[in-house]
């Protein structure tokens, strides 16, 4: 019987009432008295020297308050990078300055050159058109491999080259890996591109800066996944505002997918200008602007090689990746192709020797950073594609080859520096074969053939590292922040609870699932628990929501704080019931003394905490409010197996997804409905990457797919009905909930399944095609068939 309350139940998402009835409070809904509006004049050239900016005529236009340029930010800090990579020679990465407004040069189409503040948004835009720019176009550096050639034009003149870092992982393993390749019975090599994507959250970014002249306090309202991190980065590194004088509020946020993790120049500008002008300043991104100012995702070019022995055991793996950083380092950009990618290259397999090389490259393009999955999709895609290719070269069943090489004993220390705590990869594969009806594929293939279509089946596994992350470990790896999470649980006198969490919900349903956990711990109704998030003034220091970390890390902090609450409440109950603390039991919201019929309701104890007339004041303080910080001991390792069936139209190259099955192991599950929704959304984005989406630059650095006329987002009819299952559960061993995280799995696991299926279809036609780069548009598939 499914539960109807607490952990494991699927209550409807309480936040959806406001989201679906137009009563949410998004950043663009916030309008402050007397606010002005900013319009950013952005470069339409990918690389240009700014000779002069004449704002005289524009400044005289109606409504213009002030026009800012890079000169106004001399002496002000730049946008910081939150992660420093040490390269394979032990040197720190090259880290260019990132001014709030361009200084000297514009480095990508979209780079902000000037900011016009005016009484209305239209006036600001009008005046921006009147700014006279003298710009000298320079050659643009777009292709990553060309960018690192000797003599290439430099994106940043003060760096030695366009190479941000050349990372080797694990460098000491390299000779052993090379020896294993020399001794291999078979080597499979695959070159592939992980296509650049635009995140496209439904809500574009917005920032409103405010300044209180009387108190000297600054406030930033922003579309962010992690308001505390923005406060820290912007206050400490850009504007020099101490945290107690800076408040960051991220109210309802309409989707993030990673691109709202980062601290952006527009946030710093609005906060800075509000103080300079003593007036609130608001910026609302248009969709067109989002395409050229939101950090992009993915954009790796890789060569991967898998070595096997004569019995088809994986003996070694090596990869060489070029990872695009874009023109500047976005907040977490350096960590994505390294620690979120290299550490996952073992996948679900006991490959004993692995070497990962990553060259991060500056180009004249929009900065690239984390996008749903962040590094882990790139690792999974390479690995699961090369295994599929190996199986086809060896003439063995791709599933059997995977099973043969699965890790089966846990904990398992990989050769790429992480230790998987639990998992059961055969169990998820068994479940997948069942729900995907793999045994029925041959009949379905025949049915497709009968109508002139070609059917293909693709299967793959994935593993990800979520619940990011142990602070001491990520500190060693170059993170410039801790990655704990926090919660304050405040119990009111009448028994209701407010939980202030450092996590931030922007679609994940925290307001529904977090109360399920607390309600279960205490034995009360979920409706008695309210979640507060997104405001640095009201919540304890948190690191925000990304990397499928909120329940595993933020939820664990909440559990720890609730445990403190329960412990204190038992003391209060013991006092009133005249019993020993140790004899007090809490069940279904009732405190009772073991072995007696004496009991007290939850509400009686909470009332006593705030009306402490009969209360152990000599032992404990009045009130019932506790805070906990939780720093995880390890990452969590969700895993699973995915299967995709496609039908290919041989005349046009068009691929349609006919079936898609996902068997995931997320450990324990709090709200199965929300988990399934997360998987559905992730698969939708993964299929989007595999079939449709591509941010394409031309050689001059113009983004060709800069609107929905050319950037293909998945629509409902591009997607099949999914068979999803999360009944294989190996609980995480090191967090109190045993949860692993589910937010990114679908986006990580699905692209290789789609591509494996299309390659299967093409090969079944007798085509000697071993790979087609994403997105597998009709034109690309047809071209592959006719090359």
């Amino acid at each position: 019987m499914p539960k109807d309350t607490g952990i494991g139940a699927s209550p409807k998402r309480r936040e959806d009432v406001r989201f679906l009835t137009g009563t949410g409070n998004y950043t663009d809904d916030i309008n402050l008295n007397g606010q002005a509006y900013v319009h950013f004049l952005r470069s339409d050239m990918a690389h240009a020297r700014i000779n002069s900016i004449d704002t005289a005529a524009a400044s005289a236009m109606p409504g213009v308050v002030r026009i800012f340029t890079g000169a106004d930010f001399e002496g002000v800090g730049g946008i910081p990078c939150g992660w420093q990579i040490t390269d394979k020679h032990g040197e720190a990465m090259q880290e260019p300055a990132h001014p709030v407004l361009a200084q000297g040069k514009a480095r990508y189409v979209g780079d902000a050159i000037a900011a016009v503040v005016a009484d209305t948004a239209e006036q600001a835009r009008d005046a921006a058109e009147a700014i006279e720019l003298d710009m000298e176009e320079l050659p643009a550096v777009i292709d990553m491999k060309a960018a690192v050639q000797e003599g290439a034009t430099k994106v940043h003149d003060d760096l030695t080259s366009n190479l941000c870092y050349d990372w080797g992982f694990v460098e000491e393993n390299k000779p052993a890996v090379e020896e294993a390749f020399a001794n291999a019975a078979h080597v499979t090599t695959l070159e592939l591109v992980n296509n650049r994507l635009v995140a496209n959250p439904m809500e574009p970014r917005v920032a409103v800066g405010d300044f209180n002249r009387a108190t000297g306090d600054s406030t930033l309202y922003t579309t962010s996944q992690n308001p505390h991190v923005i406060r820290l980065l912007m206050g400490a590194f850009v504007l020099g505002i101490p945290e107690h004088k800076l408040r960051v509020i991220a109210p309802d946020v309409g989707g993030g997918f990673g691109t709202k993790i980062f601290h952006y120049a527009e946030e710093a500008f609005c906060t800075f200008a509000a103080k300079a002008l003593n007036r609130a300043v608001k910026w609302t991104s248009s969709r067109s602007e989002a395409f050229i100012s939101d950090a992009h995702g993915r954009d790796h070019v890789s060569t991967i090689q898998l070595a096997l022995d004569a019995d088809n055991n994986f003996t070694a793996l090596r990869t060489d990746t070029y990872a695009n950083m874009g023109a500047y380092l976005s907040t977490f950009a350096p960590s994505v192709p390294t620690w979120l990618h290299g550490t996952l290259m073992a996948g679900n397999y006991k490959t004993p020797l692995i070497y990962v090389n990553v060259k991060a490259v500056f180009t004249n393009t929009v900065p690239v950073d984390a996008y749903r999955g962040a590094g882990r999709p790139e690792a999974t895609y390479q690995l699961e594609r090369v295994i599929d290719k190996a199986a086809r070269e060896l003439g063995v069943d791709p599933v059997a080859l995977r099973r043969q090489n699965f890790i089966t004993e846990f904990p398992y220390a990989t050769p790429v520096a992480v230790e998987y705590d639990t998992g059961d990869y055969n169990a998820t594969m068994d479940k997948l074969e069942e729900i995907a009806d793999i045994s029925g594929f041959a009949a379905r293939r025949a049915a497709s053939e009968a109508k002139g279509k070609v059917r293909g089946l693709g299967v793959n596994c994935y593993i990800e590292a979520c619940g990011i992350a142990p602070s001491n470990l990520v500190g060693q790896l170059g993170a410039r922040a801790g990655l704990y999470e926090s919660a304050t649980v405040r119990v009111n006198a009448t028994g209701g609870l407010v939980v202030m969490t450092g996590s931030h919900s922007h679609g994940q349903g925290h307001e529904t699932s977090f109360p399920q956990v607390i309600a279960e711990m205490i034995g009360i109704d979920e409706s008695m628990v309210e979640i507060v998030h997104g405001d640095t003034a009201n919540t304890p220091m948190g690191m925000g929501t990304y990397g499928s970390r909120s329940l595993a890390v933020g939820g664990s902090a909440m559990v720890r704080a609730t445990e403190k609450i329960i412990a204190k409440a038992k003391k209060i109950a013991a006092h009133i019931l005249e019993a020993s603390d140790a004899d007090i039991e809490l069940k279904d919201g009732q405190f009772s003394v073991a072995g007696t019929d004496k009991s007290l309701a939850w509400g009686d104890v909470t009332l006593a905490a705030y009306v402490p007339h009969n209360y152990p004041l000599e032992d404990i303080e009045p009130g019932l409010e506790e805070t906990a910080f939780y720093d995880p001991a390890n990452f969590t390792y969700p895993s699973g197996a995915y299967a995709c069936e496609v039908e290919l139209d041989p005349e046009t190259g068009k691929v349609s997804i006919e079936r898609f099955a996902a068997a995931d192991d997320f450990g324990n599950v709090v709200n199965p409905m929300i988990v399934e929704g997360q998987v559905h959304g992730g698969i939708g984005q993964g299929i989007g990457q595999a079939l449709l989406e591509a941010a394409v630059y031309n050689d001059e650095g113009q983004l060709l797919s800069a609107s929905y006329m050319d950037y293909a987002m998945p629509r409902a009819d591009d997607l099949p009905f999914y068979q999803v299952d999360h009944s294989c559960q190996t609980p995480c061993t090191h967090n109190p909930l045993g949860v692993k995280g589910c937010g990114e799995a679908g986006a990580i696991g699905s692209p290789p399944a789609v591509v494996n299926a299309v390659v299967d279809a093409l090969q079944s036609m007798g085509k000697d095609i071993t790979h087609v780069d994403m997105p597998l548009s009709p034109a690309r598939v047809w071209s592959a068939m006719h090359e």
Partner: protein, 263 residues
Amino acid sequence: MYNFDVEKPTSIADAVAALASDDEAQALGGGQTLIPTLKQRLASPSKLVSLSGVAEMQGVSTDGGVVSIGGATPHGVVAAEVAQSYPALAALAGNIGDPAVRNRGTIGGSLANNDPAACYPAAALASGATIVTNGREIAADDYFDGLFTTVLEEGEIVTQVRLPVPEAANYQKFVQPASRFALVGVFVAKFADGVRVAVTGASEDGVFRWSEAEAALSANFSADALDGLSVAADGMMADIHGSKAYRAHLIGVLTKRAVAAAA
């Protein structure tokens, strides 16, 4: 967008007069192309003359084997009204854009704009339509004049489109994945005196008739009649969604499918 004035006349004569009174005025049909263009500040008309209030430009009638559609009739209305009289046209209209586009966008607006990837130009050309304006009647064969270009004069309004109903017809649209305009669209119309094949989405010169296919199909209206025929890749459009060769290839595939569906 930039500032502009709006007029909403109720007769063709008033609309023509409003357009004539101002060199920078522009007619506004359903606005499904023009309004986004204005929002991006890519056009700056001084005045928009909305045609949606002109009653005599609304509606669909069928008489003597000819479907007559008012220039300001939205796609959704066409899809519903010609479902019986001209099903291939109804299917085309019912598959333009999404419901919001179909409830606003008009046949006159589409034909006046002549987007090289729009659907209606293929129907008009394959049907041998007559484009009726406030001043004249123009045969479809003479009307289209390249990308986003027609023979319409400044201030001339498409008031009605008359489409002879073929004996058999079908439109095959292969969508561009992002915009869902036609990457290639082929309209095949079989009349008593011959077959007309119009292709949209593919050519650098906009919608065109594939005369070799027309000749072959006029002799033998079956997909097999197209065997061995192909369109040269030269002159086709190329972009991130498809090469010249791919578009040329699709013309052949879609024409066969249209014939098979119509026959």
